[in-house]
Amino acid sequence: MEREVSGMRKYYESGKTKEASWRESQLKGLRSALMEKEEDILKALKQDLGKHHVEAFRDEVGILGRSIDVALKSLRRWMAGREAKLPKIAVLSRADIVPEPLGLVLIMSSWNFPFGLSLEPLIGAIAAGNAAVLKPSEMSPACSSLLATILASYLDNNAIKVFQGGPQLGQQLLCQKWDKIFFTGSAQVGRIVMSAAAQHLTPVTLELGGKCPAVVDSLSASWDTQVAAKRIVSAKYGSCAGQACIAIDYVIVERNFAPVLVESMKAWINKMFGENPKENNSVARVVNKQHFSRLKNLLDYPEAKNSLVFGGSMDEDSLFIEPTILVDPPLESEIMREEIFGPLLPIITVEKIEDSIQFIKSRPKPLAIYAFTNNKTLQRRMSSETSSGSIVFNDAIVQYVADTIPFGGVGGSGFGKYHGKFSFDTFSHEKAVMQRSFYTDFWFRHPPWTLNKFQLLQAAYNLDYFGMLLVLLGLKKTRRYSIWAAM
């Protein structure tokens, strides 16, 4: 492996990946791969996660296609950098901020959106001109192996490689020196990644998770309630069965409104996923037995039967858990302390909806907060009093497809961001470049020092042009004299 990695570094140093034409060819190659291999990709996602092919298209393939289009369209503009303004004193000087690739980067992705979370960062890495190693998750093996095949046949193998394997391979990779590590996964592994990166002073982006709450105000219009319930149900159960970093983890709603919301949600679950979701494949599967047991145990608290209001049936053989709703499980129970990452939805009731703000604030910062409300005051309060990677009003998960806003966490949900230009930036170094002329040599920069030079320096640093003029004309009084005398 070390030989392969050092081979990639040599290739990067040849300068090939920096060329705009190379970057464009790779992005186009990726585009072709997505179009030509679409069926295989959708099949692999069905195999690993039981995703319905439309869900798989909507959440992974479609979005990736769009990201590539955005990158191709904007590439030259992103590569051009920008000019930095200079004060007037810097006459005949010029300053620019020039983006350059970091070099050889490592992307470690997760199993729940194996194509999306592997290729979205890769698009950024390529657009920024880097060579990249991708380590997909071994917990989605069909997707992982398809990724390896596709990237090998559509992209430049000298610069882009896929290494497949589990934690051991991960550790081996982390021993190498990278110019950037982009990690999507759990906080526990995130710590390991960052510790390893620290040994080489490698910058990292960590896309972690958290318990993303959905606050639902008591909506007066029935249409609004219907839409809110619909969006919550779709976001929770319709996207990898709740196994997503930005999935709605739990709902907070006023006690009086809870029954209305729950009824509406039940109706939508039936409408969207049918009477028998296990048979008609409208809800994805739990990824493996380990996570299945974990989720089963979450329902294993005293009085669980009392809080269960919908669903609850599980089938270990097919790794299927039905869309489940619980109302007011105890706050100290595991299901309210750990990130759920599955199709179980606790609903926490409060007296007043404003109480949700303190509830959220007293817990670790999540990757996303969702608030369903028309109340502008509540919106403003939620946005300014809570902190999260992002906050979305009246919808959920859609922030993932908006490429003009950064996607990333804060605090326990991670740091760094990507999507759109943010992907390009995250894999670039913004190099400051300043150009000066020989003609503008300010004599007062250099010793031997005189009181006059002292005054001019001070005026210059304060951009006090008039002051400088006064000094030159010998008209400026100064208290510098005392410092001068003491020297």
Binding site: E13, K18, H52, E55, R58, I63, R66, A84, L86, A90, A95, I97, E100, L102, R191, M194, S195, A198, L201, S234, S282, K361, S383, S387, G389, S390, I391, F393, N394, D395, V398, Q399, A402, D403, T404, I405, V410, G411, F415, G416, E430, K431, A432, V433, M434, Q435, R436, F438, D441, H446, P447, P448, W449, K453, L457, Q458, Y461, N462, L463, A486
Partner: protein, 487 residues
């Protein structure tokens, strides 16, 4: 006050209490208001104005820094940073509205900057005032609570900072912890929302590894060997003066962006050396070892380190100017060496002192390979009038920042990001970059209940898939075609 009490040991328990206290203050919202931030920035500016004499004295005590250097580099630059922050703060704090695309239509979005919370700033000894307070300006402007740990290797400045910040600033939100390894370790055990470290790579690794335990993002401002490439067809006098100003005029070479070594052609080297000798004579006189216009070496440790670099037989013989030392006064005269061996210690480690090796090459283009064969430095300099050479320099040399035809001036330009890449660090600051270094950019997305496209939701049909493809693709034509069933 504190000087009369016996010094309490600052251990982990004390550090934990400190962080908890600051978390409480931050949660109360004091530091978030525009008024608070402005009041603190103004207080800092006043502190620098009022106590200029004391600051100069402290730096004279710690480094024998010439008062003019203190005024020009530490005081004037700090005041400039305050001025820029005060002028721009309202603009920086405003949410940035961004466009949204068809994929989330209808929606509106903005990016809101929010403070991270409780931040730790660890600074260095060479510009102890500037490197402590410049990041503090950014942290305050962004609305955080701050703990500053100044370097114990500059003790007069450290204790002055503790005294002055206590006197002028809001003590409940801005604290100074003085001390050495023990105190720093106690601080690093705690959970911070950001750590900003200026110093060397060895400690940088320790800081990042400690941060990894809490998933704390870091900015590391480190160093490296900043090279100067000198072409022949230039204004030699101006170039020599600028090299001298950047090297010996900056704390006698003890600066992270000081020219570390020079690369020039074999033919041109003698001319360059002559020019340097001439200008050095003008700047510092016949006896530079005694010159008041040069800082001394900070302590015996570093003096011994620098002496060791010259002790190598193969190196000592290459001295062409200077070389005088005075251990009792911790002084080393400006020293130039010609063609010290590439594998000698002086060519492998960052010098951080008044020794300037000149390495000669046959063709100037070879110097870029020499530079790229080492780790990425914090800065790289080129003196040339040759446009092609200049372009080659900008595209092939990777460093934190580049300057053509001058040295170190990019530090004073607040519209350029100041930071490293690779071994020279990660993250950047100055001007708006300081504000952003201590902020979280939260994505805010607003959606309404009215328009709700059913294509996103299950149950999934062929029609929905067609429409989804068109919708994600974002073209109006595509959407129309999909609606009419033509795609």
């Amino acid at each position: 006050m504190s000087s009369n009490e016996s010094k309490k040991v600052f251990d982990e328990g004390a550090a934990l209490l400190l962080v908890d206290e600051l978390r409480g203050i931050f949660a109360s919202g004091t530091t978030r208001s525009y008024e608070w931030r402005v009041s603190q920035l103004k207080a800092l500016s006043k502190l620098v104005d009022d106590r200029e004499q004391q600051i100069i004295e402290a730096l004279r005590s710690d480094l024998c820094k010439p008062p003019l250097e203190t005024v020009a580099y530490e005081i004037a630059m700090l005041k400039n940073s305050c001025r820029v922050a005060l002028k721009e703060l309202k603009h920086w704090m405003k949410p940035e509205k961004v466009k949204t695309s068809m994929t989330t239509f209808p929606s509106s979005a903005e990016i809101v900057s929010e403070p991270l919370g409780v931040v730790l700033i660890i600074s260095a000894w060479n510009y102890p005032f500037l490197l402590s307070l410049d990041p503090v300006i950014g942290a305050i402007a962004a609305g955080n609570t701050v703990v500053l740990k100044p370097s114990e290797i500059a003790p007069a400045t450290s204790s002055l900072l503790a005294k002055l910040l206590e006197e002028y600033m809001d003590n409940s939100s801005i604290k100074v912890v003085e001390g050495a390894v023990d105190e720093t370790s106690a601080l690093l055990q705690q959970k911070w929302d950001k750590i900003f470290y200026t110093g060397n790579g060895r400690v940088g690794r320790i800081v990042m590894a400690a941060a990894a335990k809490h998933l704390t993002p870091v900015v590391l401002e480190l160093g490296g060997k900043s090279p100067v490439v000198v072409d022949s067809d230039i204004n030699l006098r101006v170039a020599a003066r600028r090299i001298i100003a950047g090297k010996w005029g900056c704390n006698n070479g003890q600066a992270c962006i000081s020219p570390d070594y020079i690369l020039t052609t074999k033919d041109f080297a003698p001319k360059l050396i002559d020019a340097l000798k001439t200008e050095l004579g003008k700047f510092y006189g016949e006896n530079p070892l005694e010159s008041k216009d040069l800082s001394r070496i900070v302590n015996m440790n570093h003096f011994a380190r620098l002496r060791k670099l010259l002790e190598d037989d193969k190196v000592a013989g290459k001295i062409v100017y200077g070389g005088e030392k005075d251990e009792s006064k911790l002084r080393i005269a400006p020293t130039i060496l010609l063609d010290a061996p590439r594998n000698s210690l002086i060519m492998k480690e960052e010098i951080f002192g008044p020794l300037l090796p000149i390495i000669t090459v046959n063709k100037l283009e070879e110097s870029f390979d020499v530079i790229n064969s080492g780790t990425k430095p914090l800065a790289a300099y080129l003196f040339t009038n040759n446009k092609k050479l200049r372009e080659q320099f900008v595209t092939t040399v990777s460093a934190g920042g580049l300057v053509v035809n001058d040295t170190t001036v990019h530090l004073a330009t607040h519209t350029l990001p100041f930071g490293g890449v690779g071994d020279s660090g990660m993250g950047s600051y100055h001007g708006k970059f300081s504000f952003e270094a201590f902020s979280h950019k939260k994505a805010v997305l607003y959606r309404g209940f009215k328009a709700d496209a059913s294509v996103r939701y299950p149950p999934y049909t062929k029609t929905k898939l067609r429409l989804l493809k068109a919708l994600i693709g974002g073209s109006i034509l595509g959407i129309i075609r999909a609606i009419f069933g033509w795609s």
